[in-house]
Symmetry: C2
Subunit: 234 residues, 2 copies
Amino acid sequence: MREIHDTELLQHYMETFEIKPILNDDLLPYLTLFSYDHGELICTQGDPYNHLYLLVKGKLKIFNTSPEGRTLILSFKTPLDVVGDIEYVQGTDFINTVEAVSEVHMIAIHHRWLKKFASDHTPLLKFLLNVITQKFYVKSSSLSFNLLYPVEVRFASYLLSVCFDEGDALYSGKLSTSHLIDAANLIGTSYRHLNRVIQHLSKEGLVERHKGFIEVKNREGLSELANHRNIYEK
Amino acid sequence: MREIHDTELLQHYMETFEIKPILNDDLLPYLTLFSYDHGELICTQGDPYNHLYLLVKGKLKIFNTSPEGRTLILSFKTPLDVVGDIEYVQGTDFINTVEAVSEVHMIAIHHRWLKKFASDHTPLLKFLLNVITQKFYVKSSSLSFNLLYPVEVRFASYLLSVCFDEGDALYSGKLSTSHLIDAANLIGTSYRHLNRVIQHLSKEGLVERHKGFIEVKNREGLSELANHRNIYEK
DNA sequence: AAAGTTTTAGGACATATGTCCTTCCCAACG
DNA sequence: CGTTGGGAAGGACATATGTCCTAAAACTTT
């Protein structure tokens, strides 16, 4: 992690994502721009809270490790998104671990300044309400989906979300094998079982296994299997 | 459902739960007190939103029915709690169905007035932020817990939460059999499987099956099995 | 009290998923 | 060019859970 002293870049992000309207002017001097490399941890579960982060570049992985050591990936995030909002509101330690998947830029604001200057700033409160309710929705449908459907269905939904969203024509319809472990942890199953499910989907002709990646062969069929629900979307 | 025209009772609730501070004075004339009987539905998933409700008396069951018809109970609520908050913030239809488990009193405020008089009212915004982040916490740990642990562990946690919280000495440590189906739906499993698990816990001497109810025999043992996590707490 | 009806527990079997371990493939390295 | 190490896929087996159905119990109605 390193701080980026680049006022112009900060300004650029503020404009792109329309951040200024939600912040109190008094806060502006206290914004810091941080950069994280691939694999770096932004915060670890159990850390005491102290910053609110705005993700403005790159991709984050949010996950949680159980006392038994099992990892559960909760989500991937792309700009604009917020980290540490719940912790800020509740004044609690971080619940999850946040890792940079690519090079990541985040605008950080120390809670101290937020409390001092913006605890009654309506636009920020409304912004937080919005972000948090959205997170609640995702979490809520995720819970139902996980409890109600088997891994096969969840993986179908996952494949559809991950393989066709990036706009990357090359990888369209393909999932790199190296991401399979992540996928398993995100879906909440074991790597072994995911493999079994892929094997089954192969037999059905929905996907095909190649060296290094898995290719979607029948998008419509997967979508039907997933009940047309894109639970892992964004 | 019927409206209660009892200004004094309304006042009484407002004081007991310190509701006035979070509301804008302009709103006060628009508060309505509703009463629901056991089994009545307050709202059904898919309903268009229109009221924000404050639960001030009785017990609510929040549940969700999947397209396939499976029911998943998300929580039980007791005063003071809020219903329709997420829907109010997002302007979306109700996600879940809300049913009165006992006789229930709720203070209702139509979204129209909230928007008109309180959309910038900081105390309300803060109150909502608080309530919603708390709901997020519950949902979040619920998700992890469900994905990471088998039914036996979840049921142990459930038993501890439900059997020892009410302060009702008579039922302390006991779970009425008639609630078993609810319990299964709350835990996210089938009634059949729950029975199997109870049988197993019996063999271990942790609980005992009697006519009409299940009795906890070894609270400490259950707590250990549940990893000391009380996921269903309130 | 007898007959029917609903509620509740459990049997039988199939499917879903986890754990552990082995095999195979490929790359790095001597 | 063989050796070794690591990662990825899959086999074998155990456990967890779902579905459908049956048996027993309790409760209603006549």
